[in-house]
Symmetry: C2
Subunit: 121 residues, 2 copies
Amino acid sequence: MTPLEAARACGRVDSLFDAEFFKAMSDATRLRLLSCLTKCRRPCSVTELTECCSVDFSVVSRHLGILERAGLLTSSKEGRTVFYEVRYRHLSDTFQALARSFDVPERKTKNPGKTRIGRRS
Amino acid sequence: MTPLEAARACGRVDSLFDAEFFKAMSDATRLRLLSCLTKCRRPCSVTELTECCSVDFSVVSRHLGILERAGLLTSSKEGRTVFYEVRYRHLSDTFQALARSFDVPERKTKNPGKTRIGRRS
DNA sequence: TGCATAGTTGCGTCACCATGCAATTATATC
DNA sequence: GATATAATTGCATGGTGACGCAACTATGCA
């Protein structure tokens, strides 16, 4: 299969390759927030989460919003306080599916059935 | 555990939370290249891979370099041609580990045993 | 009603990055 | 050596995003 053919055969794998999802995880501050929140194993407020990183409160609020919109967190409001929580199941399932999409394949030649460059023994 | 305590307890999970890795996967063009290359299940040249996306050849070359430096691809040169290949095992293992780090925990309360928000017992 | 707390949003700034084009390097072929 | 092909790199540009500050909204409390 050529890359072009692969591009045309956009199967179920592609839905996993969501740039927005990875973009949400591509910032060090957001990863720290996600990491802390994951370790806490309980919902945390924005104020609490601001303690674990060295940026402005408003920045934390924005980052949490980004993580939520990307599907990594959920939020619930109680009075003035907003609690963010990790979507454990969703993330576990997503990464599990990603792992499967990279299951080691049978080794194939670079140019199957050809005599040109890249031919394996 | 508070987020601050979680931040101080930087354990093995954090090494998985590598911003560079996710940044490499946060661009639509790079994801397309990775997807095509994964589906091909064989090493492909830069020229081949240029067919599957609508950007300049030089851009593809740069993206493949980024993916390689981030540990997602390996390259090998044969004559004038550079072949890029997916690091299937590495990616499978990485995502597997990420999935495990989000294994669904026992449900805990927001404020275990206390009346004030975020305060530790 | 007045004030304090929790959080979001607007705005300006700075840095980074994706892109295309052109120049360059490296290798193969004539 | 001359030329063609494969790929990388320099450079300019336009766009995006992280950040801090300030203003604003929303809720709780006296």
